[in-house]
C-alpha cells in the first residue's frame, strides 16, 4: 500500500523507497562527506517513505503524521506497553514530537533544552541546556538535524547549531530584528532547492501577540545568516496594504509561528499567518487586515519568495482566532473526485479544506462550539466561543490516505472578552488592546474524524477536557492521540472505537510519533505540564515531564 499513495500523491517522491532504506543503513553522500549522523536533504524529501525515522515535526513536508507500519494493528494495539520513560529535567509543557534519527531520539523541552536519548534503552547520550529569557510562553517544537548539526531555534531569538553527536555548540546567532518582542518556537524547516541544490532553514518568528509583524526567514545553515525574509503584512505600495487603517499595519501581527507545509519539488510553501494585532481592539485597525488569519501559498523556488495565493479565513479577527494547525497537504477524494488539497484549522473552531493549487474553498466544518463569532469584545466585556485556547490548536491532526479521513482534536471553551480604550505598545509585553479571556462555562474537547469525501464527521470521541495533542495515523488503521488528563489513547481509524488507553500521569499536549527501529515498532509521546492549556479541572497530580516509549509486549 505504501507505493500506492505515494504515486497517487503529487508526484512528491518517485522511486525513492530504496534510497531511503539505504540512508537508514549506510547513509548517503552529502557535501562530500559520508556520514549518517544527520539526514541529508534527500532524506528530508523522502521522509514520507521512511518508517524508521521521524525528522520533521509532523512526519513529513505534507504534515500528515501518517506512518506506514505493519506490526501494530487494531487487533494487538491493546498490548502496547511502556518500554522506557525518560524523565525530562526541564519541567514544563512539551509541545513537540521527538525527532528520531539513527537510533537516537532528540527531545526538546519548554526552555530549549535538547536531550539526545538512545531509542532502545532510553539512556541519555547528551544534554544541551539553554534556559533563555522567556518573553511569554515557554515552548519549543523540535530541532532540525542537518550537516552533522542539530539546529535549535530559541525563545530569545537565537538560532543555535549543536554538534549532533556531542551536543556541543557550533554557532549561536541572533537574526531576529527585535529581541524584545520576537522569539522562535518553531522547528526550522529545511528546504533544498532542486534547481540550485542550495539548502536553507525556513523559520517563522513568534511575535504575533507582542507587537511584531509576521516574518518567514530563510537562513543559511552554514553561516546562520538570513538569505531572504518574507513579511506577511503588506507594507506601503504592496497589495493588501489598504486593508489596514492608518499605520496599524506596522504592529499588525500575522505571525508565522506554527509548522509550515512544503512541496520540496515545486518549492511551494504553505504558511499560516496568525491573528491581527492589537488582538482584541478592532477599531484600532479598521479593515480586513490582510494577510492575518490567512493561509499563504508562497513560491520559494526563485531568488525571492513570491505569493501565489492567499486565503483569509477570518477577516478582521478580534479574538485571536488564528489558524494554527500545521496545514496538511494531500490528494484526496472529494465527492468521489481526486483533488489536490490542503487542510487547515483555526482557533475559532473551523476546519477548512482548500484546493492546494488555487486556494479556493472546498469545504468547511465547525468542529468546536461556536458562539458570537461576529461580536467584537467591548469595553464592558462579552462572551464568545471558543476562547483563545479553544478550537483547533497548534498540533493539528493527521491525514490517513487509506480512510481518506482527517483526525483532528478540538476544544470547546468559551471566554469573556474585554477590550480597552487605549492600546499601548510596551516592548516585550502583550500588545492586545484588551485582556485574554476569562473562562466561561465548562471546558471540554473531542477527537474528530472528518471524512474528506463528504466533508462531515465520520465519528467523534468526546473528552472531559480540551484536546490539543495532535494525532498519528498508521497504515494498519490505528489512530493515536494524547489527552490533557494524561491518557494516551488508540482508536480504530474507521469506526472510532477506543482500542487502548495508557495514563502517563501528566497532561499531553504533544503529538505522538511511530517508527521502526531494528525489528521493533515503537510509539512515543511526551507529557508534562499543560502550559497555557492549564485548567482548574485538570488532575491535581502531575508525574512530571517525560517521554514515554511504547512497544508491543513480546
Amino acid at each position: 500500500m505504501k507505493s500506492n499513495w505515494i504515486k497517487g500523491g503529487r508526484g512528491l517522491v518517485g522511486g525513492v523507497a530504496a534510497a531511503a532504506l539505504a540512508a537508514g543503513i549506510a547513509g548517503i553522500a552529502h557535501a562530500g562527506a559520508i556520514s549518517n549522523t544527520t539526514p541529508t536533504p534527500k532524506d528530508y524529501t523522502n521522509t514520507a517513505a521512511s518508517n524508521s525515522t521521524w525528522i520533521l515535526g509532523a512526519k513529513n513536508y505534507d504534515n500528515n503524521r501518517y506512518v506506514d507500519i505493519g506490526e501494530i494493528t487494531p487487533d494487538n494495539v491493546s498490548k502496547l506497553k511502556p518500554v522506557w520513560t525518560f524523565q525530562v529535567s526541564d519541567n514544563g509543557p512539551i509541545e513537540a514530537a521527538p525527532v528520531i534519527w539513527n537510533g537516537t531520539a532528540y527531545i526538546t523541552s519548554a526552555h530549549d533544552h535538547v536531550y539526545a536519548v538512545d531509542v532502545k534503552t532510553g539512556k541519555l547520550k547528551w544534554e544541551f541546556s539553554d534556559n533563555p529569557h522567556v518573553i511569554s510562553f515557554a515552548a519549543n517544537r523540535g530541532v532540525t538535524l542537518l550537516d552533522g548539526k542539530a539546529y535549535l531555534a530559541t525563545l530569545d531569538g537565537h538560532l543555535i547549531a549543536l554538534d549532533a553527536t556531542t551536543g556541543k555548540k557550533v554557532f549561536d546567532k541572533v537574526e531576529v530584528s527585535d529581541t524584545a518582542n520576537s522569539f522562535y518556537t518553531m522547528q526550522p524547516l529545511p528546504y533544498t532547492n532542486p534547481k540550485t541544490g542550495k539548502t536553507v532553514l525556513l523559520l517563522g518568528i513568534s511575535n504575533g501577540d507582542w507587537g511584531g509583524i509576521g516574518v518567514i526567514q530563510a537562513i543559511n545553515p552554514t553561516t546562520g545568516k538570513v538569505e531572504w525574509k518574507y513579511e506577511t503584512i503588506p507594507g506601503p505600495g504592496q497589495k493588501g496594504h489598504n486593508t489596514w487603517s492608518g499605520d496599524s499595519w506596522k504592529r499588525g501581527g500575522g505571525a508565522v509561528w506554527t509548522m509550515m507545509a512544503l512541496n520540496p519539488k515545486t518549492g511551494m510553501l504553505y504558511a499560516n499567518a496568525g491573528n491581527p494585532q492589537p488582538d482584541f481592539n478592532g477599531p484600532a485597525r479598521k479593515g480586513s487586515n490582510l494577510y492575518s488569519d490567512s493561509l499563504l501559498a508562497i513560491n520559494i523556488s526563485g531568488a525571492k519568495p513570491k505569493m501565489v495565493w492567499a486565503h483569509q479565513f477570518i477577516p478582521h479577527d478580534t479574538h485571536d482566532w488564528d489558524p494554527v494547525m500545521p496545514p496538511i497537504l494531500f490528494t484526496g477524494k472529494v465527492n468521489g473526485q481526486e483533488m489536490p488539497l490542503v487542510a487547515d484549522g483555526d482557533k475559532a473552531g473551523n476546519f477548512w479544506l482548500l484546493n492546494s493549487q488555487t486556494g479556493k474553498l472546498v469545504s468547511h466544518l465547525a468542529i468546536a462550539m461556536q458562539y458570537h463569532l461576529n461580536l467584537p469584545p467591548s469595553l464592558k466585556g462579552n462572551v464568545a466561543c471558543p476562547n483563545t485556547n479553544g478550537g483547533v490548536e497548534y498540533n493539528g491532526g493527521s491525514y490517513d490516505p487509506k480512510t481518506n479521513m482527517i483526525y483532528l482534536p478540538s476544544s470547546n471553551e468559551c471566554g469573556f472578552w474585554r477590550s480597552t480604550k487605549k492600546v499601548v505598545y510596551i516592548a516585550g509585553q502583550f500588545y492586545l488592546g484588551g485582556a485574554f479571556p476569562k473562562f466561561v462555562g465548562p471546558n471540554t474537547g473531542q477527537f474528530n474524524a472528518i471524512d474528506v469525501n463528504t466533508g462531515v464527521f465520520a465519528w467523534r470521541d468526546n473528552s472531559k477536557l480540551p484536546m490539543a495533542g495532535g494525532a498519528l495515523s498508521t497504515s494498519t488503521g490505528v489512530v493515536f492521540t494524547g489527552l490533557e488528563d494524561g491518557d494516551f489513547n488508540a482508536y480504530d481509524a474507521t469506526s472510532g472505537k477506543k482500542l487502548w488507553s495508557y495514563d502517563t500521569g501528566s497532561p499531553i499536549i504533544a503529538p505522538p510519533v511511530a517508527f521502526t527501529q531494528g525489528n521493533t515498532e515503537y510509539v512515543a509521546v511526551a507529557s508534562g505540564q499543560a502550559g497555557n492549556q492549564m485548567l482548574p479541572t485538570m488532575p491535581k497530580t502531575n508525574k512530571g515531564t517525560m517521554l514515554t516509549m511504547f512497544a508491543l509486549a513480546k
Partner: protein
C-alpha cells in the same frame, strides 16, 4: 518642482512658525511631506472656517448650517470616504485632511512626528463623528452642542507649536519636526550651531531655522527663542532644548548649540544627560512603596494563582521569570517601570482569568514581586488603585538590595 509649488511651499514654511498660512491646498495632489502637512492644516482651518461662516448666519433655517457641517466633513474625509457627501460640494483636496495624515503615517520608519499625527488623526475622526451628529441634529440647539464638540477637537487637531507630544497637533508637528521643512530647502546638522540660512535637523526633529537678516519682515511666532547670530536671525523651535540631549549622546559638535539654547538658570554641564533619553538605574526607590505585611500576604496569593505558570521560585515554568536577574535584565532593557508592571499584572493576569483577583490581592502580589526583586519595603502600602503617574521608577537590579539575593537574584520573602 513647479514655480507655483515652490511658491506655495514658501508660504507654508511661514505657517509652521507664524501660524498665519492662508488656506491654499486646493491645487494638484501635494507631493512632499511638508506639503501634505500644510494641506492637512489648510483643510482643518477651512473646516473651521466653513462652520464659523454659518455660525454667524444661522437665521435662515437648518438647511444652510447642515450643509456647512457636510462641507466640513468633506474637507476632513475627502471624496473616497463613505462619509463624503457629494451634494455638499467638492471642497478641493480629494483625499481630505484624514487622507493626508494617513499618507504621512504610512511608512516603515517612525519619525518623531508620528505621535503628533496620531493625535491629529484621532481628533479628526472625532470631529467627523461630531459633525455627522450635527448634520443630523434636530434644531439649532442640538446642532450647536455637536458643532461645539467638533470645533474643540478641530482645535486640538490644529494643535499648538509649543507642544511636541501627542497634543502638538499639526502646528506642533510642523514647528518641531521635518514636516516644517519645505522640500528642497537647505538642511543642516541641528546639533551644530547654524552657519548658513536653512533648517537645522537632528534625528527627525527640527531644531532651528536660520534666516538671513534683510529688509523683509521675518515671522517669528511659534519659535521658542529667537537670537540674532551674526547676519542671521536664528529661530529655535520649542523642541530644541530637548533635542540637545539627544545630540549629547554623540558628544562631537553640540557644545555651542547647547550653551546657547539652555537657559542660564539650569547649568548645562551638570544636567543628567541621559535622563531624557533613558532613565538610569534608580538611586531612589521612592517612586514606589509597599509594606512587608503586603508582601507576605502576596506570597500566598502568588502561590495560589501565579506559581503554576511562573514557578514557585519565580523563574518561570510555562511563563517567563518575574523576579531576579533574568527578569530585571529584561525589564531594564525594555524600560519597564513599576507602573508598567502593575498594568501588566492587573490587566493581563492571571493569564487564564485576567482581572479575577481583588484589588487588595493584586496590590499584595505587586508587593511580593517587588520584595522578591529585592526592592526595600517601606511604611506606605502599595496602593490598590495607583494612578498612571505612580511608580515611574524603572525596574532594574536595585543598587542596595533589601535582603540577600539567591543564585537567581531573588530575595526570599517570609
Amino acid at each position: 518642482m513647479s514655480p507655483t509649488g515652490f511658491a506655495r511651499s514658501l508660504i507654508i514654511a511661514g505657517a509652521a512658525f507664524a501660524a498665519l498660512a492662508p488656506p491654499c491646498a486646493h491645487a494638484a495632489a501635494p507631493a512632499s511631506d511638508q506639503a501634505r502637512a500644510a494641506a492637512t492644516l489648510a483643510n482643518i482651518r477651512l473646516a473651521v472656517g466653513t462652520i464659523m461662516t454659518v455660525e454667524n448666519d444661522a437665521t435662515n433655517g437648518p438647511a444652510r448650517y447642515k450643509a456647512a457641517a457636510h462641507r466640513a466633513i468633506n474637507l476632513l474625509v475627502g471624496t473616497k470616504d463613505e462619509a463624503y457627501d457629494a451634494a455638499a460640494g467638492l471642497p478641493g483636496d480629494p483625499v481630505g485632511a484624514i487622507g493626508e495624515v494617513n499618507t504621512l503615517l504610512d511608512r516603515r520608519a517612525s519619525p518623531p512626528f508620528v505621535p503628533m499625527l496620531h493625535g491629529v488623526l484621532v481628533n479628526l475622526q472625532s470631529s467627523v463623528a461630531s459633525l455627522q451628529d450635527a448634520a443630523k441634529a434636530r434644531g439649532l440647539g442640538a446642532y450647536e452642542v455637536d458643532v461645539s464638540q467638533a470645533l474643540q477637537t478641530l482645535a486640538m487637531a490644529e494643535g499648538r507649536p509649543g507642544a511636541h507630544d501627542v497634543f502638538g497637533g499639526m502646528l506642533g508637528a510642523m514647528a518641531n519636526t521635518g514636516l516644517g521643512v519645505p522640500s528642497g530647502a537647505p538642511v543642516e546638522n541641528g546639533c551644530a550651531a547654524p552657519r548658513a540660512p536653512g533648517y537645522g535637523m537632528a534625528q527627525g526633529w527640527l531644531v532651528w531655522r536660520a534666516v538671513k537678516l534683510g529688509s523683509a519682515p521675518i515671522a517669528t511666532a511659534g519659535a521658542a527663542m529667537v537670537r540674532k547670530e551674526g547676519s542671521m536671525l536664528v529661530l529655535y523651535t520649542p523642541v530644541a532644548a530637548m533635542v540637545q540631549h539627544l545630540c549629547a549622546a554623540k558628544p562631537t559638535h553640540h557644545a555651542a548649540a547647547q550653551a546657547m539654547i539652555r537657559p542660564a538658570a539650569a547649568p548645562v554641564a551638570k544636567a543628567p544627560v541621559a535622563r531624557l533619553i533613558r532613565v538610569s538605574a534608580t538611586s531612589s526607590d521612592g517612586g514606589v512603596s509597599y509594606t512587608m505585611a503586603q508582601a507576605t500576604a502576596g506570597k500566598a496569593v502568588y502561590a495560589a494563582h501565579c506559581a503554576s505558570c511562573h514557578g514557585a521560585n519565580l523563574q518561570g515554568v510555562a511563563a517567563p521569570a518575574i523576579a531576579g536577574k533574568d527578569f530585571l535584565t529584561t525589564a531594564n532593557k525594555n524600560g519597564y517601570s513599576a507602573s508598567i508592571l502593575n498594568t501588566i499584572v492587573t490587566q493581563n493576569m492571571p493569564f487564564n482569568d485576567p482581572g479575577s483577583l481583588k484589588p487588595a490581592e493584586y496590590a499584595d502580589v505587586m508587593a511580593y514581586l517587588l520584595a522578591a526583586n529585592c526592592f526595600p519595603a517601606g511604611k506606605t502600602a502599595f496602593p490598590t488603585d495607583p494612578g498612571s503617574s505612580f511608580g515611574t521608577v524603572k525596574l532594574s537590579t536595585p543598587t542596595h538590595p533589601a535582603g540577600t539575593p539567591d543564585k537567581f537574584g531573588v530575595c526570599a520573602v517570609k
